[in-house]
């Protein structure tokens, strides 16, 4: 099976599904699931393959597809999440309108993501990138109303990103007259640091927007909360990671470690700046997430913060940090998708995801609770989940790299994460069950199944982190990092090793001991929720649940400091642009002379910029 065939199946299947939907919705559903499963199987079979093939000649440029371990890792994540979210969609989307369109877009976005990771040159990368962006836009605004506004916000920022990408791409072409990534990479080491930096900055804008790196994140909270839940899982789980892929490609494939290390030194180096940006991305969104009342908005802000960890690991640029960042990308894909699906299941059953009005759902949806719990534990980075290992790697890198302040931000962000993760768990599942949710049922099988798979991944990679770490180590080595001493249970090292098996068995044994003690004591009486301490009174119905303003004291402390300054800035900017446009209308005088003058001015600016690059 070749890469071209895969993409043909992926895109063709998507359109076939759309057409089949006109005939029979059931067949459409089956085909969509089958298609994603087939893609998953094919991608899985690609494991270990490397190679590049040209598939098309476009205006004289050779467009090529390429596979290596790096793209395989991303592709398998795409394919897994794609199939799971499609299965999840089956019951979640049931009864909604324009379903053919929904499935078409889902499958096309998946296919385009596969296209991105398998692209061997900048042009096909760009084409797939645009398909993905527009498909995402259509899916985000699927629900219309506020969703349309969120989608517009997304696509405007996406276009800005694409423009930056095009600038970078053409600039590279101008220098090396090829679009092929591998060709550019082999020649770029001779370029001046200033030029490299400018290209990197341009690409960083593109990928930073997709990756929702502060200060380019503002599209994400709206988009995540407005999109349909299965797509939110894809969006947060893998789609924004295309930005991560872009960062890896531009930093370590295009430019390469060696050239990268020459870009400035100490605090003023490129990757240190990126790391600081990542630290800000961890810190601020974590606390904004804490203050949200909509479950999906909490998760959306949390996605931004977690992306911060990924970029932090990758930006630091040691083999341990790179491994941590890459592993965290996988982990984030698993637990954030799981969380979005679980919230989706709750929303599907109760009709709301408002953290203030839910409560006590654990009595009705214990399975969904367990899944949310596992997802939340992974998010926190609880020992025995995969999030722990990746965060441990990142922390260790930072501490031993003498960056304790970045480490502090990362660790502190984790404690913020605990707060909002528990808030989600508590406000949805814990506490008293309100009257109106007495009739809620457990999620259907097609929702349970993807959640189970994801939770198994979380636990498995948490106890045996060696499985993904070995793959990541291969990638790292291929990119020129030092090889790590990876075992199946973690990492051996002189400065503090990690052994998850030890942790697992210690906790298991002490669990058994405590459980035996617990069992030896008299059995306790199971009581209803209204048999509860209320200072001697009977529990008032429906008014005995603490959810609103869950962390009120913290809110009061942080509220003056934690505001989305960036969003406010962009909004002000948008307002200013509108005024500016009103003003510029007056420039269209209709006289040829003035237009000529504008063009001259513009050229002058361009020339100055060009000169500026050279001087730098």
């Amino acid at each position: 099976m070749s890469l071209e065939m895969l993409l043909v199946i992926a895109f063709g299947g998507a359109f076939l599904t759309y057409l089949l939907g006109k005939l029979s919705p059931v067949l459409r559903d089956i085909l969509a699931v089958l298609l994603t499963l087939v893609i998953l199987a094919i991608v899985a079979l690609f494991y270990g393959r490397t190679g590049e093939s040209s598939f098309m000649n476009f205006l004289g440029f050779n467009l090529s597809l390429r596979i290596n371990t790096l793209s395989w890792l991303f592709a398998i994540a795409v394919a897994t999440l794609g199939s799971l979210s499609t299965i999840f969609s089956l019951s979640y989307m049931k009864g909604k309108e324009r379903l053919d369109f929904y499935y078409l877009m889902m499958l096309i976005v998946n296919a385009s993501m596969l296209g991105i990771v398998f692209s061997g040159d900048l042009i096909s990368f760009y084409v797939f990138w645009e398909i993905m962006s527009w498909g995402t836009f259509l899916l985000i605004s699927y629900n219309r109303g506020p969703a349309l506004a969120a989608g517009l916000k997304y696509i405007v920022m996406s276009i800005v990103g694409s423009t930056a990408y095009l600038l970078g791409m053409f600039s590279l072409y101008a220098s090396y007259s090829t679009f092929n990534i591998a060709d550019i990479a082999s020649r770029i080491s001779t370029a001046s640091p200033g030029y490299l930096l400018s290209v990197l900055v341009l690409f960083s804008i593109t990928f930073g927007i997709k990756n929702a790196l502060v200060p380019l994140h503002t599209w994400l909270p709206d988009a995540h909360s407005e999109a349909p839940s299965p797509f939110s899982a894809v969006l947060s789980g893998i789609l924004i990671k295309m930005g991560t892929y872009g960062f890896v490609i531009s930093m370590y494939v295009l430019v390469g470690i060696k050239a990268l290390s020459h870009l400035g030194h100490g605090i003023l180096s490129f990757h240190f700046m990126l790391a600081i940006l990542a630290a800000v991305t961890i810190l601020v969104p974590t606390f904004i997430a804490l203050m949200q009342d909509d479950a999906k908005r909490v998760l959306a802000w949390s996605s931004i913060a977690q992306v911060g960890y990924i970029i932090l690991g990758i930006a630091i640029g040691t083999s341990l940090g790179f491994a941590g960042g890459m592993f965290h990308f996988l982990n984030h894909a698993s637990f954030k998708a799981l969380l979005f699906m679980a919230i989706g299941a709750v929303e599907y059953r109760t009709g709301t995801r408002d953290l203030n009005s839910l409560g006590g759902i654990i009595k009705k949806m214990p399975f969904t609770f367990m899944m949310t719990l596992i997802g939340a534990l992974g998010l926190i980075g609880f020992p025995l989940t995969n999030g722990f290992v990746s965060k441990w790697l990142i922390y260790k890198t930072l501490i031993l790299g003498k960056d304790p302040f970045l480490a502090f931000v990362a660790l502190f962000g984790t404690w913020g994460t605990i707060l909002y993760a528990y808030k989600i768990l508590h406000n949805i599942f814990m506490g008293q069950l309100p009257e109106e949710y007495k009739g809620v049922e457990e999620a259907p099988f097609s929702m349970k199944f993807p959640m189970v798979i994801l939770s198994i991944i979380i636990i498995l990679f948490g106890i045996l982190p060696g499985i993904p770490l070995k793959v990541i180590n291969v990638i790292g080595v291929s990119l020129g990092f030092k090889s790590l001493a990876v075992n199946i249970w973690g990492i051996a090292s002189d400065t503090g090793a990690l052994n998850t098996i030890n942790i697992f068995s210690a906790i298991l044994v002490s669990w058994i001991v405590v459980w035996l003690i617990f069992k030896a004591a008299p059995t306790s009486l199971r009581v209803e929720q209204d048999n509860n301490y209320a200072a001697g009174s009977y529990v008032p119905t429906g008014r005995y649940l603490y959810t609103a303003n869950f962390y009120a004291p913290v809110y009061r402390i942080i509220k003056p400091y934690v505001i989305d300054v960036v969003d406010i800035f962009y909004m002000a900017l948008a307002g200013a642009v509108r005024t500016l446009c009103d003003w510029t209308r007056r420039m269209y005088t209709g006289e040829l002379g003035s237009y000529v003058m504008y063009i001259m001015l513009f050229l002058a600016v361009l020339i100055t910029m060009r000169l500026g690059f050279n001087i730098w």
Binding site: P404, L425, H426, A497, I503, A506, W515, P522, Y533
Partner: protein, 294 residues
């Protein structure tokens, strides 16, 4: 030998923790100008609690409290203690930092199913407080790890052998003091007992606990007294290869902490967080800067 440590160190920790609990009640009584309970009182309480028949609110109510104690017991195995550290090569201080999460998270989950707003408020306060004390605590741990350039607790202890105690070294003096300031917050005792403030929210997370649940929570508290102080002894007082010396060091630190908390009332939540983000954090930060500068 190694295998025996797995059994001995939790049991010793339990004995020391329970002894410290009894001792603290006794010392507090003397400060109150009264006689105080027998030293064995915590054990008597535990015996009684385990014999009681109480109520449960659901499976997570049980699992949470078991998880919290299990995590704490597992944590003991990672802490160098009198020459023993059964799981020394399994992640070091970073893992300790994370396994310390088991106890509050387990209690929070268990209490959450208890479906009582007092519990929820208590948990919310507990997490807020932990957000408060983790700032100085992380800074302190980072200062220690950066100074000794290792994340392994055993190596930190080794580096302080032959009386090169970190508390009396220039860079780590301030973090050491900061740690003493945050010990009551980490243990949730006065003046930082706002999570379980009985006069405000009816003992918060414990409100629905009785019998064995309370007993497990008490044991967990005994362990965490030991762990918190043992970490201090390991990081700043050079640990000890001898259990008796180690115990003496723990005792001294504990009594100093006790005298502080005898005369202070409870903070309000915001005041506690502001205090913790102010003095201990500034001290720890100063220590970290000095460590980096050297």
């Amino acid at each position: 030998m190694k295998l025996a440590e797995f059994i001995i160190s939790p049991i010793l920790a339990f004995i020391i923790g329970i002894f410290l609990m009894g001792l603290s009640r006794r010392i507090m009584a003397r400060i109150h100008r009264r006689y105080g309970p027998p030293l064995m009182q915590p054990v008597i309480d535990l015996v009684k609690l385990f014999s009681q028949r109480t109520v449960s609110h659901g499976p997570i109510f049980d699992i949470g409290v078991i998880l919290s104690l299990a995590g704490t017991i597992a944590l003991i195995l990672f802490i160098p203690f009198g020459g023993m550290c059964p799981l020394e090569a399994s992640g070091g201080l970073l893992v300790i930092l994370y396994i310390m999460l088991f106890a509050p998270l387990g209690l929070a989950l268990s209490g959450g199913e208890g479906a009582n707003p007092n519990i929820s408020i208590g948990i919310s306060r507990k997490f807020i407080l932990s957000l408060g004390y983790e700032v100085p605590f992380i800074l302190i741990v980072l200062a220690v790890m950066t100074y000794y350039h290792t994340i392994s607790a055993v190596d930190v202890v080794k580096a302080q052998s032959s009386f090169h105690w970190a508390l009396f070294s220039l860079p780590l003096f301030l973090p050491g003091l900061a740690y003493i300031l945050i010990i009551p917050a980490m243990l949730g005792i006065r003046p930082f007992d706002l999570a379980s403030a009985p006069q405000e929210i009816s003992s918060g997370p414990m409100a629905e606990y009785g019998g064995k649940y309370l007993a497990l929570a008490e044991i967990e508290h005994a362990f965490s007294i030991f762990i918190t102080i043992a970490l201090f002894v390991d990081m700043f007082l050079g640990g000890s290869g001898n259990v008796v010396y180690f115990f003496l060091k723990v005792l001294v630190v504990f009594i100093i902490g006790l005298l502080i908390n005898a005369v202070f009332p409870r903070f309000r939540t915001e005041q506690a967080v502001k205090f913790l983000w102010k003095w201990p954090s500034v001290m720890a930060l100063a220590g970290l800067v000095i460590v980096l500068a050297i």
